[in-house]
Amino acid sequence: MKWYVIRRVLWAAFASFIILTITFVLMDQVPNQQLMQAEFQAAVNDVDVETAVQAEKERLGLDRPFHERYLDFMTNVFQGDWGWSYEYDQPVVDVVRETVPYSLLYGVPAIVLSTVIGTAIGLYSAVNQYTKKDYAATFAAFFGISIPNFWFGIVLLVVFGSWLGWVPIGWNADIPLAADGSWTLLETAGSDHPAFFRQDFEGERYVGILSPANLKQLILPTFVLMTGAIASVMRYARAEALEYVDADFVKTAKSKGVSNRAIVTKHIFRPASIPLMTILVGRILGLVLFGSYLIEVVFGIPGIGLASFQAIIRQDTDLVAITILLPTFVAIVGNLIEDIMYAVLDPRIDYGDR
């Protein structure tokens, strides 16, 4: 067990190392924005382009040998020096720090809700296997899995935003913030608050994460992200639970006189939950990371996904690297937690030899 955990941690570290290396090598191939700028400047100022570029290279340290730059890159990544974003004109770290909370705003509730709801439906469906309820749930799950969430988002925006007018169409990034730009849960603010730019009203309105306006604009992105996730969780939960519905120990429990409800919650859910949890960490995380990218673009949420998207469009190399590395690391850590949880939670498994 101890060895197993140590091995897993070492492995995660090694995988991270490989990923970083690949990223560095690939990014090294991309034409450098600053060099191009220097070249352009030189051309405009009618200086010798060659020397200007060379000077810029020296200034940036790009003339040094490959392995030195590689070492530099690695140390910088670990020290949190993630480069400079030309688009945002600030360090990449700050961009990440500013954008990630927006992603969490809808991502966290979506993960929590879809896990709870999906597991419940899945269990229910498994226990009622081959009944109408089961078929209905499975059928619905297929829709949830199949619907392209970017398209679904657009359709919902049209229906609820533009036709019915129930939710705002544009995303107001300032509403969850206090007047001074810091994050707040709930407070009131006057019309001078940046969220109410060009709005004219008397008195004060609520701002903050829990403010009605913010919750309202979170509904659709959360819901769209959830549809696919609920369906996936439900299918996994159902499959896992089915493994145990006909198990001998369930029959033993039944013969002891355990009630149907307790059989489901204690005897089926508990053993099923162990593999389930591990599946969820890995799969749902991937689904959400991928989904958030599209959802942020569709809804215009200034989260990490949108930042990454814009960085790619605008050739903001450092930001591209980091915004792609971040979800990858989240996935690595997720997998690590998954493996360790499995080992800790399941009394059946002896990790003596693996």
């Binding site: 033993t252 429990a253 059946r348």
Partner: protein
Amino acid sequence: MSTRDDTTDVRDVPTERDDQPLLKISNLHTYFRTDSEDVRAVDGVSLTVDPGETVAIVGESGSGKTVASEAITRLFKSPPGYIPEGSIEINGREITDLSDEELRRVRGGEVSHVFQNPQGALNPVYTIGWQIREALQLHADVSKSEARERAVELLTQVGIPEASSRLDDYPHEFSGGMKQRVLIAIALACEPDLLIADEPTTALDVTIQAQILELLAELQEQRDMGMLFITHDLGVVAEIADRVAVMYAGKIMEKGSVEDVFETPAHPYTRALLDCLPGRGGIGGIPGELPDPRSPPPGCRFADRCRHAIDACRTGDQPGMHRVGDAPDHTTSCVHFEPGRDSSTVLDAGSEPAGSPSPPDDLERGGRR
């Protein structure tokens, strides 16, 4: 479907017991729905178990013995399984029409089960102690510490050494025989009146089987508990049962006290089964296959494989239960034992010589002394 009530025949047989039987199954049917026709797993079974008595149901795979035992407390998977007709009484109370909630109190309380496969019958993610405590707390209002004490006591009774230190172990830390002991402890937790043991030793080695059989017999004696023992092994039946019922294709072929059935096996199926035992001379088995449980043929279910089958065997329903000789309880479902027919056709036929299964027609004429 058979409309004939087998129980009527049984009532013809005078029973000396005045007191009420612990378990009384009458004309029980259990079917399973499929895409086409229903599978008739149990198709009219009547049986009684008295307190302190061991009744064995013996039969081969597909005979419906397990379903019959699970039908008592409706443990089979439902849907697709259901009981179209029949009655089950426990201590005189009809339980086929009980609600799930009421039945829940019967399960584990009055009637307990021990199953065939000890490997899978314990929940792998809970400790042994938890699983015994659960059984106790379902049927009695006991505190946690009382339940623990009781659990230790039970484990000691079923022969698990150092019981209290093993309460917190998980099932995978026990061997197969030990798991079966734990399962017996769980089954006995609430002092049931009837223990249904469904092939409890089949998955175990002979030496462990001997231990478990001895344990069951011992516990039964201590508690004066009725036991319904399901098995395919005639040796085990001879070892443990007081009375025995031989099942084939959802029907009971023969029943009676274990001595009578082993000494004077009446039904051709019982006789053939006994002949198959190693060392009984009859090598060659019973040719043929079980009838299709979806659409059983008319007449006796065994007719197609029977050496003594005559035309009467292939018409009507399964023959009623007829008395064999003078034994009080010994009855068989075979036309040759109908009053007015010569039962010696069956009883006096020797077993065929090894390795030469002769066609049934030849054997019709058999019965030489």
